[in-house]
Structures are given as C-alpha cells and as structure tokens.
Symmetry: C2
Subunit: 703 residues, 2 copies
Amino acid sequence: MHYAVAWTLLLWLSIGASFGQGAIPSAESHLLLTQSGRDLYTELAKRSPKALTQIEKMKRNLAELIAQPLQVPLPKDAGGGYTHEQHKANQKAIFEAGVLYKLTGEDKYAEHCKQLLDAYAAMYKSLPLHPEKKEQTPGKLFWQSLNDAVWLVYSVQGFDAIKSYLSPVEREYLKTELFEPYVHFLSVDGEETFNKIHNHGTWALAAVGMAGYSLEEDDWVQMALKGSAADGSGGFLNQLNQLFSPDGYYTEGPYYQRYALMPFVVFAQAIANNNPDLEIFEYRNGILIKAIYAAIDLTYNGHFFPINDALKEKNLTTSEMVFGIDIAYKETGDPRLLSIAAYQGSFAPIDAGFETMAALTKSEAIPYDYNSIRFRDGKEGEEGGLAIFRPYSANSKDDAALIYKYTSQGMGHGHFDKLTWLFYDNGNEVIRDYGAARFLNIEAKYGGHYLKENNTWAKQSIAHTTVVVDEKSHFEGKYKVASAAYPTEILYDVSEPNLQVASAELAEVYPGVKFIRTMALVQDEAFEYPLVLDLFEVESEEAHQYDLPLYFNGQFIHLNSPIQAHQNQLKPLGNAEGYEHLWNLGEAQANAELTQFTWLLNDRFYTWSSQTDSDDKLILVELGAHDPDFSLRNERGLVLRTQSEGKHYFLSALETHGTFDAKNEVTVNASNQILELKLITRGAEKIIQVMTKDSGIREFKIN
Amino acid sequence: MHYAVAWTLLLWLSIGASFGQGAIPSAESHLLLTQSGRDLYTELAKRSPKALTQIEKMKRNLAELIAQPLQVPLPKDAGGGYTHEQHKANQKAIFEAGVLYKLTGEDKYAEHCKQLLDAYAAMYKSLPLHPEKKEQTPGKLFWQSLNDAVWLVYSVQGFDAIKSYLSPVEREYLKTELFEPYVHFLSVDGEETFNKIHNHGTWALAAVGMAGYSLEEDDWVQMALKGSAADGSGGFLNQLNQLFSPDGYYTEGPYYQRYALMPFVVFAQAIANNNPDLEIFEYRNGILIKAIYAAIDLTYNGHFFPINDALKEKNLTTSEMVFGIDIAYKETGDPRLLSIAAYQGSFAPIDAGFETMAALTKSEAIPYDYNSIRFRDGKEGEEGGLAIFRPYSANSKDDAALIYKYTSQGMGHGHFDKLTWLFYDNGNEVIRDYGAARFLNIEAKYGGHYLKENNTWAKQSIAHTTVVVDEKSHFEGKYKVASAAYPTEILYDVSEPNLQVASAELAEVYPGVKFIRTMALVQDEAFEYPLVLDLFEVESEEAHQYDLPLYFNGQFIHLNSPIQAHQNQLKPLGNAEGYEHLWNLGEAQANAELTQFTWLLNDRFYTWSSQTDSDDKLILVELGAHDPDFSLRNERGLVLRTQSEGKHYFLSALETHGTFDAKNEVTVNASNQILELKLITRGAEKIIQVMTKDSGIREFKIN
C-alpha cells in the first residue's frame, strides 16, 4: 500500500496548484448509507439474521475478489466484451466493498475499495475516448458515456462509505486524480448529454450531483440541480418537470421508466439527506413517488409492458426497482410496497433498504392491489396516455390485463404504433408487442447494440396491432413528424366496473387520415372471462388499403374461412416498412359476416371475432424474412386487409374461453360464445351489440 | 327409484335363464378402497385435516353434481365433444361418489353413484357401436373401445364402494344389465384387443378382471389373468412378461409407459388384495414396481422424455402416476417415493393413497436421487435400450440430462429415429424431439386424433437428431421392417463418474448401411458444465448423402461460417419423408476444420462443434412447410449434410457455457472453449481429443 500513498503525495504536490480550488473532502459520509443503516443492520443481524442472506453473499463474493489480483484493464471492448464487463464488475465491487465497510467496520473491505479507486485514479487522466466509441456519445471507461455515468453513481457511493478510512491526503488524491476529471468529462466534455432532457442526462447529473455531495463540492451539486449553466435550462429539477407526466409516466415507456428511475431515486435520496430544505420528494406533487408507483402499475406478472424499445426480460426484480421500492417505502411507509419488496426477494444495501427489510421481517406487508389506471403522457399530461384495464376484484397475477396505448411518440426509443394494444391473461402475453430487436450485451449480435432490425422491423407500424395504411408506417416513419403529433383522449371511464372503456383519436396519422380507436374490457355473465371490445374507426376521403394485424401468441386452432396455405413456397408480404420481414404463410377470403379465429395458449382458448365482408382478406404471417443473421423471433400474426373508400371501421372482440387440460385429458368450451357483432347508434349513443350462443344479445355502450 | 327396481326384477326374471350362471354379488368391497383406507382417512381427518383438502374439494364437486339433473346422453361425439366429455365426467363422478360413500358413510353419495350406474344400465344393452367409430376398435360409450375399458376400470370401483348400500336385487340388476354385457363387449366382441399384447389390451383386461373381483365372477378374473381362452396366450401375466423389459421399460416409450401403468397397477393392487397367493408384485422379479421406478427415471423436471408418440404436457402429476406412486409406496415403503408424492401434491383416494399421505404428514420423505441409468428394451432385455446420463452429484432439477435412445421400434407409436438423442439443461429442453403431432381432445384439430402430420413429419427420421441417408427414413419408413430390427448395445459404462459413455450399433438401417453411435457425458475441469461427446459412425460401401440434423431450442447467435439466408423466398428442403415439412432458411459451406454453432436459451449459451470439411453443407431449417392447417410448431434445426463414399463419421460435441443475465445486464463466457475435435486411436483405444481455449488438450477414451 505504501507505494500508493507515497505516489499519491507526490502527485498531489505536483498538481495541487492547478486543482487547488476545492477543499479536502471530510471523513463524513453524505450519501445513501449512513449510521442509521448500520444500526438497522446490527439490529437485524441479532433479530432476524436470515433477512441478511444477501449481505452474507456479498461478503463471500468480496472474499473471493479480495483473494484475487485487481483487474483494472485499459478500456478496449464494446458492450459484453471483457473490459466492459470488468469495469462493470469493478463498479459493483467498489460499491459493495464500501457497503460492507460501513456495515461491519472491517478494514479489509475499505482497503479493497480504496485499491480499486486508486487504480482508476492512476489511469483516469491519461485515458482517451473509448476505442469502440458508440454513436455520438463515447465514454472513457466504456464505449458509451452513459455507462461512465453509471459507474460513477455506484463508485462514488463506495468512496462515500470509506471516507473515514481514508487519510485526507488519500481523499484528496482520489478527488483530484479521479473524481474531478471524471466530473469534468461528464459535465464539460459531455455538456450536451449532461443538459439533455433524457435518461442519459439523468445518469450524468446524478453522478455529478452525488459526487458533489460526497466530495463536498457545491458547484457540482448546483450544476446537477440546475444544469451546467446553473440557470435552470437543464438539470435535475428541470428533468423532473419535463420527463414525467403529471401522473408519473415517463415518456419513453415502462422499460426506460424502470431504467431512468435509478438515477432519479438515488440522487433524490442524496438530495433529501443533504438538502432537506428542497423537499425533493414533495417536488411537483410528489412526482418521483408517483413515478415509482407507475412503474409497478406498468407490469403484468412482474414484467414491464414492452411498448417502444423494450427487452422483455426486465421485471420488477431489477436493481433499479429494488432501490426505487425501498426508497419509496422509506418515504411513504406504504405497506403495499412491502409485498413488492417481498416479490423482489432482495433489498438495496442503503438506509432505505434496511428499513424496508426490517418492516418485512415484522410481517407488515399487504398485497399490492393492481387496478385499472390511466397514465397521461406529456409534461402537462396533454399528450395522450396509456390506459391499463384490469378486471374488477382481480385477485391473481394471472388475471387479464388490457393495455391500450395512445401515448406520444416517446422520443427516440418510440415506435410508430399509434393506438396499438396488448392483452395478457393467465400469466401470459396473449396479444403481444415485439418489443425491441436487441441482444443486450451479446457481442456476437452487433456488439449488443440495437440491431438494424430494430429500425426495419420493431419500430415499424406493421409490427404492432394497429392499422397500417397503404403498407406505410405512421407519419411515414419520420421521427420528427411523429414527435410533433400525439393522440387526444376522448374518453377514459372505469366508473362502471363491468364496462371499462377508453377512446382516443389522432388526425393526420397519414395525410388526410384520422384514427379513432375505442377499446373496452367487459365483464358480463355471458362470458367466462373478461371480453375485449375494439372499435377502430379510420376517417379519410381517399381510397386506401387498411391492414389490421393481430399478433397472437399460441397455436393456430381454427379460422372460420378456408385458408390457402402457401405450402410449397413462401414470399415476403411486402418490400419495405417492416412488410419485408413477414413471410406470407397463407391467405383466406374473409367470411361475409364475421371472421373468427381461435388459438390455444397453454390451457386456454382465445377467439378473435371481427366484422368482415367477403372482399376482405386474411393473411397469416410469420416473422423472419430478410433476417440475414436470424435475429428475429419467428412469431406469427394474422393480418386483416381491407380496401376502402372514405370512412371505414373495424369492429372486433377477443374472447378468452375454455380449458385444455392435457394432464387430465379434459377439454371444455373449446368453442366460443360470439355469433355476431354489430355497431349500432341510438341517438348519440354508440353501442356494440354482441349476439351470443347461450345468452342472447348483449349490448355495450361505448361512449 | 322404485320403477327401476321393479323393472329390474322383471328383466332379471325374464333373462335369468340365459345369464343365470353367476351368483348375486355380495355386499362386500373387493377392490382398492377398503375399511383400512377409511380408518386412515378418519385418523388423518383428526390429526392433519389439511392433508385432506382434495377430499374436501371432491365433496364440493359432488355437492354441485348432486344438485343438478343427471346427464347420461346417448353416445354421439368424438373425442373432445360433448357426449365424450360427459361420459368421462360421469366415470369420474361414479368413482368419486363411491369413494366418498366409503369414507363418510353418507347415503347421498351412494345414491348419486347408484343413479348414474342405473342410468347406464338402462341404456347399455341397446347401444350400437359408437357412431364416430375410431379406426379398427370402436367402443359403445366412446368412439374407441379403449375409452370404454377406462370407463369400466373407474366405474366398477365406484360400484364396489357402494355394494353395501345396494340391495341384492339392485346389485344383480347392475350386474346383468350393465357389467355382464359390458364385460362381454370388451372380452368377446373385443376379443382381439382383449388378447393383444398392447396397452389397449391391458385396460380391457384390467376392466374385466376388476369387474370379476367386484362382481365375484371368477371366470372374468381368469380371463383377465390368462386371456379369453384362459390358456395363457393372452392375459395380464403374459402382458407382464412381454410388455416390459427386465428393467421395467415399456417398449412404447415413457409417454405410454405412464399411460399403461394405470391398468397395470390398479389391477395388480386388486389381485394383491384378492389373490395374495399370486404374489403379483413379486412376479418376474418385481417387474411392476420396477416399471413405476422407471417412469420416474424417464423424466426431466417431472416431464416424460417425449420419444416416440408423446405429448409434452404430461408429467409426473398425472393421475396414473399418482396411483402408481401410492401403490408402489404401499408395497415398498421407500421414503424417496414420498418426495415424488409431495411433488404431485395429491394422492389416490384408495388405501395406498391414504397410507402415502399419512406418511407424508409425518415428514418421512427423502429426496428422489436421479442417477444415470440404462433401461434395456425387449422382453428379454436384448433389444437395445435407453441410456440416461445425469451428472454425478446432481442435486438440482435443473442439472443436465443426456438421453441416448437405442431402443427397438416400440410398436405402432414408435418413430423411425434409431440412435437419436435429447439433451436437457437448466430446466429446459435443449436438443429436442418433436414428440407427437396431435391436439389431444381438441375436436377442431382432426377430432383430437393423431394428425396426419404425425406420420408425415413426427415419425420420420429427419424429425430427429440422427443420421438420415439419401433423404429417406430408416427402414424406408416401414413399420414391419423396423420392428424386426433393433440396435445392439456395445457399451454402457457409468463407472467412471467423469466420463459416462454408451455405444450401440445397428446394421441394415438402410440396405448395406450400418450405424454405430457412441455418446458420452463428460465432467471435466476445462468445462463449466457437463460436455456431450458424440461419435456417429456410418458404414457403407456405397456413396450416399448423410444428413445429421440438430434440433436446437433457442435463439440463433452465431455460426462460424457465413450463412446465406434465403431472405426473399423459402422453399421446402425436399419432397417427401418429412423433408417436405422443412423450410430451407439458409445455407452455408461448412468450415474446413470445425463447424461451430452457438445459440442462447434463457440465460445460458450452447455451442455445438462438429468436425467438418469445406465440402460439407449446413442448412438452417424451420418446420412448417406443407402444413395446410398450421398444426406444426415452427421449431428450427441445423442440418449438417455430407456426401460420402464408404465409411464416414460425424464427431461432435455440445458445450453449455456462460450466463446471459438480462436482469443485471451482465454477460459472461458468451464464447465457448472448444477449438478443435479429433478422433484418434492408440492400439485398441478410441480417444476423442479436444483442444480447449484455456485448458489445453483434453482426452476422453470412449471404448
């Protein structure tokens, strides 16, 4: 160790002059783990040691790491490669070693943390931009400055936890050799990202702000709060104003809502600890706490709704959500959050996490009640929204959920999927969204980046269960045009438990073409399970071709008109805008009254019924054409195609029915209830009339 | 009721002469639920009422049924249709009402059971063959006489349980109007099935034999034991001799092993209760108990290996296995069986079931140890076998399992898949067998029958991970030829924990073509997880094309030679013998040394390496061509194709490696270890030499 200290001194003496503006940081911790967390840890260790399993595991991991030589390689590889993963592993080790020192007071942890930080300090100033620079915003340790910001958020917490172990000289060395240039890189070299209203910006300013608190540099804190010009044009408060809707919805969608939460909540917690005067958790009517609750409501079976760019693996157990739930629990004391914490099975090793775990061990949890909810989008809440319908008296994670998306574009990760929908039931995706085309951190797949198929397929309109006009994506697939437009909510009404309904409209989705879609979740005695109703009105004065795809999950069972399978040769459905990725498996002329399509998923049947006439066409498609690297999942869909002049509407319903019990070899209600669908008007009332097999005519008013 | 009694009397008087050989059955129960079961039930109800949840549920179901009018319709519908399902529901109601009467003594249950049996008695004699007769063996209540036999196995147990509730006249009525003609239909009209060495025969004779014990008709019992000629050419004992190998393997495979077990074990239990002198459970060195253990060993994660015709939904929780495990536990007292019973979460409502549940409530279970095991096939154990390799010190249901199939054809449900293999890991199918093409009990899918694609695809050789010569199925796809041939085991050695190996050969799989395949499961420090080695030798004097498909489960990640995707048009791989069902997705010339193909399944990577030369071809295929009803699952495979004159061998290895942790965004070991594969000989020793990235050369002797 001594060589490092001596070297540090030397370095510090030689460079002191040029960096001397700041004071030497004190020995005090300022961030998320303090004496309060240590006291709770000590109490839990006595009262309920089983609750601390993850801390014991952390100790075992650290023991292994301490026994090995440090690995702090020169940055070289892209996401998923060795140096990328090693720097991520180190950020974790720095954080966790700090945590363990704080909790146990054992020097070995502090020493390991210090050695890692020293190694980075020794290298940092001489680092060029990362050789595998990622589009626009390269980092130094990583290919992307976003990863550099994340590294600092974790590592400065490790530093903060061992400050009392370090001599003033050692603290000063780390400040001048590592943290100052690091903050400079993020806030000055990376000024554009730092001031951007975007999750990359949030990470950068959380990193700088937390470094500011820990290193006791108020300038850094002020930059983080107000932007690098400290004039409020950027900064954390501005992000809180602009990135969330008044309902706590993050405009990029649930996947990035989860990701973005991390820097928001950890920095907010640091602010609350150091600037309680700012009342950050009350800011904008408690927007941050709303955002955490929103993230919970934006899941099915723990998994985030995969709208926009989204990887489906992510669920409520990710570390962002663990930090978020624990911090929200510390702030609100809401016992429903404890049931989410119990589902997560882990806690954040910070004061808030120990508080949550202490409450859990006292059995204070009550179940989280997933209810219907609508999130308005846009900073003022006027840019459309996302309606989530769940059955009343839902009491199981396997109950149905209908998601109707009429949000704004959602920035660069948004998809051209205006007025699309998703449906879940029985624990499964039933009508699904492809999500993103990406293999995160798998180098063999385009270095772990978003694949080009993310643009050519996943973002295109035909990849979604919404209307596509003339085989073109919404807004001609132009991001700027799409961003300037957003749907208007006409109706959202869940006051009638058995008929929950939302309606939204959007003009000029295409030149001269307006969409109005009304979706309802119905609970009616004629139906075994909740029924989805869907009225999609397209207004245009010109003649167009309209395609309405249905991305069903499951095994094709029956279509009520003869389908000609392309048994001996497949061709793509089209040439561009996503159509080139769909194999045309077979075609049918639609039934003259009602098209009905039944599929099986696990032990239940689903039947989609849609009013059609005999000129309409049905095309069964499968994803996979023009996929040279075989990166796309070979999922199937059914496309309803119609030619229309002027106004047109699609009237459809989705039934869940029956049981396929393979274990006991019993099948019941394999056939569905709906015989006929009709849209009728009575005065100003719009009514969907449903003729059923066993219960006569049922009527549902949808306006 | 009175009309029925009067009518019975009248009928009985008028027909007494022609059926009068038998006596009136006594009031005594002779089958599987006796006073002993009732006593255990009473004890459990006091000591551990939670263990009886399923009996309470049975009571609630019966209460609902009793409140409704009886439904005993004239047989009309095929499998999955209303009358089919209703008669199945009635067989269950008859059985369960009998059980509940026996357990509780409450008349309402006996009365419901009696009313149902009376309704069948009133109808039975006048029933013609079922209008939807299924191939060859129509039933009366059901389309297939197999279902009729099953109905009797359950219903006669219901009758047996309520005998003491019935008057002698009522017992006699049911005997003459229902059971006598029913037995006659199964044993005389259905003589061919009854005497067949086949699971349909087992059900028929179990039904007749159990009816014989309950109705006290020894002739029926003798027929069941010895065949309808009572000369030993058919019958239960003969089936025990012929249908199981000495190791307890049922020649049709695990799926039918499970199914066939039911009549075997329930009839054996009835024999043990009534003819203890026969020592039926000791018969043929305890073959029945061996068969029950075999059924356990033939599973991964509770699911049966889907070789031959098999539906993948079936697992150890099916009622056959519940009866089997409980009866085996009663017989052996093996506490490992209790852990299987605990996994099942239910017990059979018979004496054996109550014994098992009583032991479970006393926490007497110990974990079932899944070990490597080989089952010989053929009644003498000389017709090949099935080797199951599991890692030593396997302690999790998620550990690897390698299944190497060198069984005989397995009768009519056998596939043309000589020397194929399957691999499981991490809870998943990794190298998979399609199983059967069938939607059991779903009328819309060919009435729930095996689909025609079961013959054209699932049974064909190309549907399996074995060599296909000149695009033809083994034995030209001829059942009789295939049934006359079977592989010979050369080696099965699991004595060396780190190198478990089996080898088998078969001549004349095609005229002049011999197969020898050697497979090994290796545990070696060079590899993170168990490694599969595969040497497939093909001997022939002629020039042939050899295809070796690999049906991998997961997402294509990387192939080490450039693959030309057929991006704009797909054509089938061939015209017949299963090839017509495969779309050719793309082709590559193989690497001149070693082909390597990596895919991702959940959170692990798998890399298949195979020695190739640059003339070899790789074809990526997907199932779904010539599938007019879209009934096939769109699974993918990689076909290695080579042209060869004379001898040829395929040398391959399958590595499991790395972690794709999407939750924490960490990927490790995405690339594999193997750099080179070589087959070398030293004297008589055959050695597979494996060059690894980090651990040099490893050698594995495989003979």
